[in-house]
Every structure is written in structure tokens, then in C-alpha cells.
Amino acid sequence: MIEITDLTFEYEDGPRVFDGLSVDIESGQTIAVCGANGTGKSTLLRLLAGLLEPTAGRIQIGDGDDPSVGLAPETPADGLFAATVREEVAFFPKNRDLDVDTRVEGALSALGIEHLADRTPQNLSEGQKRLVTVASVLSGAPDVVGLDEPTSGLDAESWRRLGERLADLSETIMLVTHDTDFAWQYADRVLVLSEQGKERYGTTSAVLADPEFDLGAHGLRVPEAVTWARAHDVDPPPRSVGAAVDLLEGSE
């Protein structure tokens, strides 16, 4: 369980981002944090990872006994420093005294990037760099996985692989994303932040498929699956393309 209680954060000479934010996250759940640019989504991740100190309030992870949080930054180049992808992905498990080879091979293969193992991270495409930063977090088996815009620059296959890998994990995952299609398919719950703080927090369906909730006012797109379902008068909307195909073929 992650308990965020009365969290307030103010940048030095900058704006106050949250003012008394309280959210409880069940262990093992995937939470998508969404909202317009500048509502503090990335700040929340950095507070969770201990990279920033709350101005007031607190974040309690589990029983508080030194939990580990792995964070993949929004700009992949910010998290890449080793000479090869293999060394990059080995850094976290090495520092946690885990079985490095097994963890590295597992993370690379889960994201379908074994073929990049001996390449120099800086020479990869943006999408490939992003997968490497995510693999570098997953390889360390942290208690909490934090991913900032993990799907930006990913192709369809990498997008699906990442979602399926996250769905398989037992760890708690907080992903900051504008990609409501990804949140729709792979998140358990969605937290929408606005300048006022917590705007909505609930199950993915309750937030992203609520016709009364104006996602556009919060810089969010209605997931394409939800738009498709409304056009086809289908309720509840399908989670995936496969589910939509099954629905159509079942009704024929």
C-alpha cells in the first residue's frame, strides 16, 4: 500500500504544485497519473522516488522499511550513462545484490530488446532508449515502479509488450502518461490531477469512460476504444482491439 497523505509541494521560487493531496494505492496495482502539462504529474513521481522532499505531508510506502523505488525519467537520455545496454540494465540489480545475469536477460527479453544488448545506448532511437530505461528499472525488481511517459516514441509492438509486461508484474506501478489509450488498456486505476490537485481518482472505467467527465478540460483525450464503443453503442467499452473484434463477431 502507498499512502499519500496531505501532500504539499512547492518549488523554490516556483508554483505550489499540490496542496494537501491524499491518495491511497493498493499494492500490486497499476495507477495511471494523468492531467494537463504542468499539473505536477512528474513532480509526484519524483516525490515518490525520494528525489524531492515534500513541503508538507508524507508518502508512506508499505511498512516504511526502506522500500526501493525505480524511476524511468521522461527524457530517456537523462537515465542512460553506461557504455552498453547490457551494462545499463545491469546497474540496478548489481546494486541490489540480485542475480544480475538472470535479471538483465529477463528484462531485455520481456521488452523484446535482447538484440540491443551490446549496442551503445546513446546511439539508439528515442523509442529504443525509452525501452532501455524501462528495462533498467524492471531489472532491479523495485517495490514500486515509476514510469514517466513510458509509451512516448514506442511502436505498436513495443507498446503492447510494455503493457503486457507491466500487467504481469506484482509490483505497484505508477505511470505518468498522456496516453489514455495505454491507461485504458493496462491501468487498474486512474488519478487525474489538475491545478486544484486531485480531480478524479477511481477505476479506469469510472474515470476514462464516464461521459459526464470532460477529459478534454484536463488535457486528456477520450481513449479511442471508448470513442469506438460509443459509436457502436457498446457498453462497457472493450479494453483491446481483440476484444472489439470478438464483440463484433459475436454479434453477427
Binding site: 494537463a36 502539462n37 521522461e74 532511437s125 523509442g127 509492438e157 488535457g219
Partner: protein, 247 residues
């Protein structure tokens, strides 16, 4: 004559692996072309190559010909790459100052294009305080004010919220036909109906070229993210002419 023409461009990486192989592409005046492909397919490299930015780049060997008969502007995938000054207005002025444009004309161009892009509210901000999406808009403004004949937009929609994404798409709409555009993307949902032609890159080679509808099977093969409705129709083997291109 084409504004931009690449003939048999091949780019080889440090490991002697070809990243682009014999790619040819031309862009005509006022044309909007989508360059689509999966992660690592060479989209960005082709865009950089067309802008003349791969010459003398360490570790890369480039062969083939690129001809430019007009001015080219580039929006980099990571906007931080092209933001060099402390404040927005000063940064946007940088390209014009380097061309020796008179200060009063610079301010006129900045104000006109900022209004057209709906980013006037960002002009007096510090770059360091901008979000990723806002940086993309500022970098795009820096390109627009120089009024190039061709603009290469490298994944301009990545990490934008819906509001900023609409601003960029509206800008693409307003430039269409007036300025030639080459847009690289792999999440093509909002673009299929906005472009004249699509070039699909598959593992560094041209997999297909044609209208969005003609290249749908190649886009799917190349692992490009397609609109949900398009994916559903393709999965159901709906005839290509009936496959929706949006939604």
C-alpha cells in the same frame, strides 16, 4: 523541381550495420508527407539526413545524394536539443538574429506566429520552467518564425497533452498547402487524414509509398500504431477501401 530530394541514401552505423538502405524520397512544394515506421526504423535519421545534419557526424557513414532547393526548418524529437537561451522570446528570436533580420521585424514575426500557434502566453516565460509539451511548442515557434519552405517535424506529438496536441495539429492544418511538411510519427492516428502521401520505413528500407489508404497493410507490418477503428477493421479483413482512417 522538388524542394527536397533524397536519392539512394544509405546510412551505416558504428557497427557497420546499415540503418537506412537506399532510401529515395522527394517532397514537392506545399506537400504534406508522413514518414512512418516502428521504433528504430530510421525515421529520425532520414529526417536529419534531409536537413543536412548527418554530414560529418561521428560514427555514421552516409552515402547517396540529398538536394535542397529551398530553406528547411527542423523540429527535433527532443525539443531541448534546439532551445539554447534562457527566455522564450530570446530563444525564438535566435534563428532570425542569425539571419540578420532587423529587430522590429523579428518581434513582428514572433508576435504573428505566436498568435497563430496560440502560444503568446509563453513568450515571457523562462525555458527552464516549461513542461516538455510547452518546450515543444516553443521549439516549433522558433522554426515557424523563420518561415522555411519545408518543415521537418520529428515526432511532434510525443508527450503532448490533448490541448497542446490540438495546437500542433491545428498548426499543421493551417500550414498544409502553404509550406511543405515532412512529419515523422509512429502513432499516426491523427495524421492519416491530414497527409498527401505516406512513406513507410521498414527496418531502414522503403516498405511502401502512397496514399494513407494504399499503405495501410505496410503500416501494420511496420508496427506503426494505427487508430483503434482502423486496427479493428484490419483484424476483421474488411476491404481496404472501407477501412476507417480515424478513431
Amino acid at each position: 523541381m522538388s524542394l527536397l530530394a533524397a536519392r539512394d541514401v544509405t546510412v551505416t552505423g558504428p557497427d557497420a550495420d546499415p540503418i537506412l538502405q537506399n532510401v529515395s524520397l522527394s517532397i514537392e512544394d506545399g506537400e504534406t508527407v508522413l514518414l512512418a515506421g516502428g521504433s528504430g526504423s530510421g525515421k529520425s535519421l532520414l529526417g536529419l539526413s534531409l536537413c543536412g545534419l548527418l554530414e560529418n557526424r561521428p560514427g555514421l557513414s552516409v552515402t547517396g545524394e540529398v538536394e535542397r532547393s529551398g530553406s528547411v526548418g527542423l523540429l527535433f524529437q527532443d525539443p531541448r536539443t534546439q532551445l539554447v537561451r534562457e527566455r522564450v522570446r530570446s530563444d525564438v528570436a535566435f534563428g532570425l538574429e542569425n539571419r540578420g533580420v532587423a529587430p522590429e521585424r523579428i518581434h513582428e514575426l514572433i508576435d504573428t506566429w505566436a498568435e497563430r500557434l496560440s502560444v503568446t502566453h509563453l513568450l515571457d516565460r523562462e525555458i527552464a520552467g516549461l513542461s516538455r509539451g510547452e518546450r515543444t511548442l516553443v521549439a516549433l515557434l522558433g522554426v515557424l518564425v523563420t518561415e522555411p519552405d519545408v518543415i521537418v517535424l520529428d515526432e511532434p506529438l510525443a508527450a503532448l497533452d490533448a490541448t497542446n496536441r490540438s495546437l500542433v495539429l491545428d498548426t499543421i492544418d493551417s500550414l498544409r498547402g502553404e509550406t511543405a511538411l515532412l512529419v515523422t510519427e509512429q502513432h499516426v492516428s491523427p495524421l492519416l487524414t491530414r497527409v498527401d502521401r505516406v512513406l513507410v520505413l521498414e527496418d531502414g528500407e522503403v516498405g511502401a509509398m502512397g496514399s494513407a489508404r494504399e499503405v495501410l497493410p505496410a503500416l501494420k507490418r511496420a508496427r506503426v500504431r494505427l487508430p483503434f477503428s482502423t486496427q479493428v477493421a484490419l483484424e476483421r479483413d474488411v476491404p481496404i477501401e472501407q477501412v476507417p482512417l480515424t478513431g
